[in-house]
């Protein structure tokens, strides 16, 4: 009997390993599908972002910005339209460099993609194209119901240190749309929860129509209830109209900021 134990154990172990590998491959494939669903490799994407930040138990501030994005080259240009004090300010991403343009001093300064956008919970990197499959590797997955959505929940670990969050959990519906994201720090602290309840179809791809982001670092106990800094992002007027290459230049940003 004993002589059969080792081969049986080996067979079970190999089968288990194979199952995990297969699962891992599936999840990687799922991430690729997720990226493909919201990425516009063949055209430019422009849209108007309205970002409303509400401090816990306090004031709100609104930023309106126009975004031009070219996923094929990884470029984007953001031009702030409101509030009036920040009008003309802009961000330009060229390769790995992100420039911030100040129209008052007329100077470009380096900034980080990991910085908060206009001091909200939305990060500069959130304007980037979706790149889950390249930047993260799935370490586990489960099925879970999120409100009315049946989702696959993936736990992701960063494959490189250029991404903002080293750990992440994402809820993906069967149509490959991300419905919820939890962003964690290296120590495992939950830093941000984003919900994306609605998407809008643009061409044959999808663009989020709205997002709600809760900042778990900025919390306050208001009347016995914990309130988070809440950032609501509304994305309107999406367009796939082709844009000239000159849009993604410093000169263009300087010109439109005048």
């Amino acid at each position: 009997m004993n002589r059969y134990r080792l081969p049986i154990a080996l067979s079970i172990a190999l089968a288990a390993l194979g199952s995990v590998q297969a699962q891992g491959t599936d999840y990687s494939e799922l991430l690729k599908r997720v990226d493909a669903t919201v990425t516009f490799e063949g055209s430019d994407l422009s849209a108007e972002y309205t970002i409303v930040k509400r401090d816990p138990g306090g004031a709100t501030s609104t930023t309106v910005a126009t975004m031009f994005r070219r996923d094929a080259t990884g470029q984007f240009l953001i031009l702030i339209l409101a509030p009036a004090i920040d009008k003309g300010k802009g961000y330009l991403k060229e390769g790995d460099n992100l420039w911030l343009y100040d129209p008052v001093d007329r100077v470009f300064t380096f900034t980080s993609a990991k910085e908060r956008f206009q001091n909200s919970s939305f990060r500069n990197s959130d304007f980037n194209r979706s790149n889950f499959s390249k930047d993260y590797t799935p370490v586990s997955g489960t099925r879970e119901k999120l409100g009315k959505f049946e989702c696959t929940v993936l736990e992701l670990r960063a494959t490189n240190d250029t991404v903002s969050f080293p750990r992440m959990r994402i809820w993906v519906t069967d149509d490959y749309l991300v419905r919820k994201i939890e962003d964690y720090s290296l120590s495992g602290q939950l830093m941000r929860t984003s919900a994306i309840p609605s998407y809008q179809k643009v061409g044959d791809k999808w663009v989020a129509a709205g997002m709600v982001i809760l900042d778990h670092l900025k919390t306050k106990n208001v009347g016995g209830k914990v309130e988070y800094e809440r950032t609501t992002v509304t994305i309107a007027k999406p367009s796939l109209a082709a844009l000239p290459g000159s849009v993604y230049t410093k000169e263009y940003l300087e010109k439109v900021a005048r």
Binding site: D55, P56, G57, G58, S112, K114, A158, D161, T162, V163, S164, F165, P166, S185, L186, S187, Q189, M191, L217, K218, T219, K220, N221, E227, E229
Partner: protein, 429 residues
């Protein structure tokens, strides 16, 4: 003989000299108080800066333009072997990025500087840190684990007190987000220039930055009493250059930036004295000291005019006495010397009195609490003015005062020496 006569004259004619003595006494006490306060302010700024930067002399490693010290143990070993005049030597981990933030109760405060400290080694050096709540002792040993000392300004903005858990946010060397819950173990008062700094144990900061627990970015050295920081910095630089790549002498931060711009392909150590860190502040205080001495120079000039006139009267009144001394065989040079020695003695005695008055004024001014005066915190220690006086400053002050008095007395002394005995007697007749 001249000394005896000068002393006798000073005693006998004390009433005539009283006015000059009073002017010199006030002048010297004023010089001493103002220079003592100015140098005291400079010393206060330096002691605050020593906490903020890494000691009186700091050693920081740089590799390809970024702070990096791969083997702090080797640096410490070299410095220990050099037997330098140092009272404390400790490793520090300084978070040189400016994105560290503290979160509490819905509020955020960005920290200008986050410093990891070996509290057991630097405890005595940080003893002057004024705590409004908690203490530095709470950071000692394992009890201090995951503790943080925050400034009063940060505590007020966050609404945090000792015992509260704040979230510390930073990015690792690879720029990845990291966070930790830290217990506030102390809230200290610090001026805005050196404010918005938080202190944690260096092993805790190393852990958050994903570095080795014993890693360090800086070595902090505190000079033994009486030793010049710049000389110590040069000694440190020379000692390190025997085993490590070291930048040339760096008198200011700009010189470091110029060196870094050249691009260092191997890890190179930068040795900074506190004066190099404080070049701008020091120039402001030096300007203040120069202005103070200019004002005092004008004051000494006024005193000199007074002394000149008083001496003219004294010489006139003592014409007969001078004539008698000349008739008895005293040379004209000796007469001149007599008046100069009298003036010198008067200046020295009055300056000694002025020093006593200045010491009393120092003591009284030390009781005044300036905490409520805006921006006074930078120049005060725990809200009180500090006075600093050393032999060099004292000698300079004494030279200004005594030199002024003797210079004023020279003219009348020369005039007295020119008096002919027969003329003096004839005038009297």
């Amino acid at each position: 003989m001249t000394l005896f006569l000068a002393t006798r004259n000073l005693v006998l004619q004390r009433r005539r000299y009283a006015l000059i003595a009073l002017a010199v006494l006030l002048g010297f006490s004023l010089i001493t108080v103002i220079s003592g306060a100015a140098y005291g302010a400079l010393e206060t700024v330096k002691s605050k800066a020593a906490r903020y930067f890494a000691g009186h002399v700091s050693v920081t490693g740089y590799y390809r333009g970024a702070p990096s010290m791969s083997d702090p143990d080797a640096v410490l070993e070299t410095l220990a072997a050099a037997k330098l005049p140092v009272r404390t030597m400790a490793r520090r981990t300084v978070y040189y990025k400016t994105d560290a933030e503290l979160f509490f109760g819905g509020e955020t405060v960005r920290q200008r500087r986050l410093v990891g400290i070996d509290f057991s080694a630097e405890r005595d050096e940080l003893a002057n840190l004024r705590f409004s709540d908690g203490s530095i002792d709470a950071m000692l040993g394992d009890d201090g684990r995951d503790g943080i000392l925050i400034s009063e300004s940060a505590a007020n903005l966050l609404g945090a007190r000792v015992g509260d858990d704040v979230i510390l946010y930073l990015t690792t060397d690879a720029y990845q987000y990291n966070t930790a819950t830290m217990l506030v173990r102390g809230v200290f008062s610090e001026t805005s220039l050196f404010g918005y700094v938080a202190y944690v144990r260096n092993e805790d900061l190393n852990r958050l930055l994903l570095r080795d627990p014993t890693a360090a970015s800086d070595i902090a050295l505190y000079a033994a009493p009486g030793h010049d920081y710049n000389e110590l910095a040069e000694s440190v630089r020379l000692a390190l250059s025997s085993r490590h790549a070291v930048f040339p002498t760096l008198p200011t931060k700009d010189t470091l930036y110029a060196e870094l711009a050249k691009g260092n392909s191997e890890e190179t150590l930068a040795v900074f004295s506190l004066d190099a860190h404080l070049a701008q502040i020091k120039s402001i205080l030096t300007a203040f000291i120069i202005v103070a001495y200019f004002v005092l120079g004008v004051f000494v000039l006024v005193v000199m005019v007074g002394i000149l006139n008083t001496y003219r009267v004294i010489v006139y009144e003592r014409t007969r006495e001078i004539g008698t001394m000349r008739a008895l065989g005293m040379s004209s040079g000796a007469v001149s010397r007599l008046f100069v020695v009298e003036a010198l003695g008067l200046a020295l005695l009055s300056s000694a009195g002025g020093l006593v008055v200045a010491l009393v004024l120092f003591k009284l001014a030390g009781f005044i609490d300036l905490s409520s005066v805006p921006s006074a915190g930078l120049f005060t220690e725990r809200g009180h003015l500090r006075f600093y006086m050393d032999a060099r400053i004292m000698t300079l002050n004494l030279a200004i005062m005594v030199g002024g008095v003797v210079l004023a007395a020279l003219g009348p002394a020369r005039k007295a020496s020119l008096i002919h005995p027969a003329d003096a007697m004839r005038d009297e007749a």
